[in-house]
């Protein structure tokens, strides 16, 4: 059911949302999240950033997260598009879009997928700062965001 894509080039959020309703008459709600590169992180000024991933495992991890969301809520379809490589501040990094008959399911599943993507999908961020490039550390707040969804399932 879910559609997962890793790509270097920017995505068109409107086209991804449209793909979820195209030719369908049962979708009532599409909740979408777009993550964007900020010029400031943990207090430091940030320029370009670069995302690394683990080809093969990353796609598998994203599909697993989507599968968990589909088991938990009443969904029609899910899409995850994640960019890798160099990106400038203001550019989109990730899109998660979820369609459902009802908005409550779409919102919850979209936020769930983002929270788990942040803590379970193999991506690593390197930022260019005035004092040179640095790898971004995992954030406790992201672990907490993922933890609130459930008793851990592993």
């Amino acid at each position: 059911m879910a559609h997962v894509r890793i790509q270097a080039h920017p995505f068109d959020a409107g086209a991804e949302i449209a793909a979820l309703t195209q030719g369908r008459r049962d979708v009532g709600a599409v909740a979408t999240f777009v993550g964007v590169v900020r010029d400031r992180n943990e207090g430091a000024s940030v320029g370009r950033m670069t995302l690394e991933h683990y080809p093969g495992m990353t796609e598998k991890a994203l599909l697993e997260i989507c599968g968990q969301a589909a088991q938990r809520w009443d969904l029609i379809d899910l899409r995850v598009v994640h960019r890798v490589g160099p990106m400038e501040p203001g550019e989109p990094i990730v899109l998660v879009a979820v369609s459902s008959a009802h908005r409550g399911d779409a919102f919850a599943a979209c936020e769930f997928v983002m929270d788990f993507l942040k803590t379970r999908a193999p991506f690593w961020k390197r930022e260019d700062t005035p004092s040179g490039p640095r790898w971004v550390d995992a954030r406790v707040s992201d672990d907490e965001a993922a933890a609130r969804w459930a008793p851990p399932n592993r």
Binding site: M57, H82, L117, P122, F123, W124, K125
Partner: protein, 84 residues
């Protein structure tokens, strides 16, 4: 011959992204592979020694130090993830 991958800061600190290692005969776990790597000294000691923080996947699935590793397995070491 297991394939071992390193990502992100771990790859940079070790100076290698992919290698194949010959496992001595017998049964192996992630922990025994880590002990083998650590014995190389230098950055290997600091990346895999006491207090080091890493995650591991075996054949694209998150694993823990007790997980078994066989020849032909793909073992990946990396820092905690920071996507999205």
């Amino acid at each position: 011959m297991a394939t071992v991958l390193y990502f992100a800061s771990l790859r940079e600190r070790l100076g290698v992204g992919r290698e194949t290692i010959d496992l001595p005969p017998g049964s192996h776990t992630v922990a025994s592979v880590v002990a083998h790597l650590r014995a190389r000294g230098g950055p290997w000691e600091s990346c895999f020694g006491p207090g080091s923080v890493w995650r591991v996947a075996v054949n694209h699935a998150m694993a823990n130090p007790e997980a078994t590793v066989s020849a032909d397995d793909e073992v990946a070491f990396f820092p905690p993830v920071t996507g999205g």
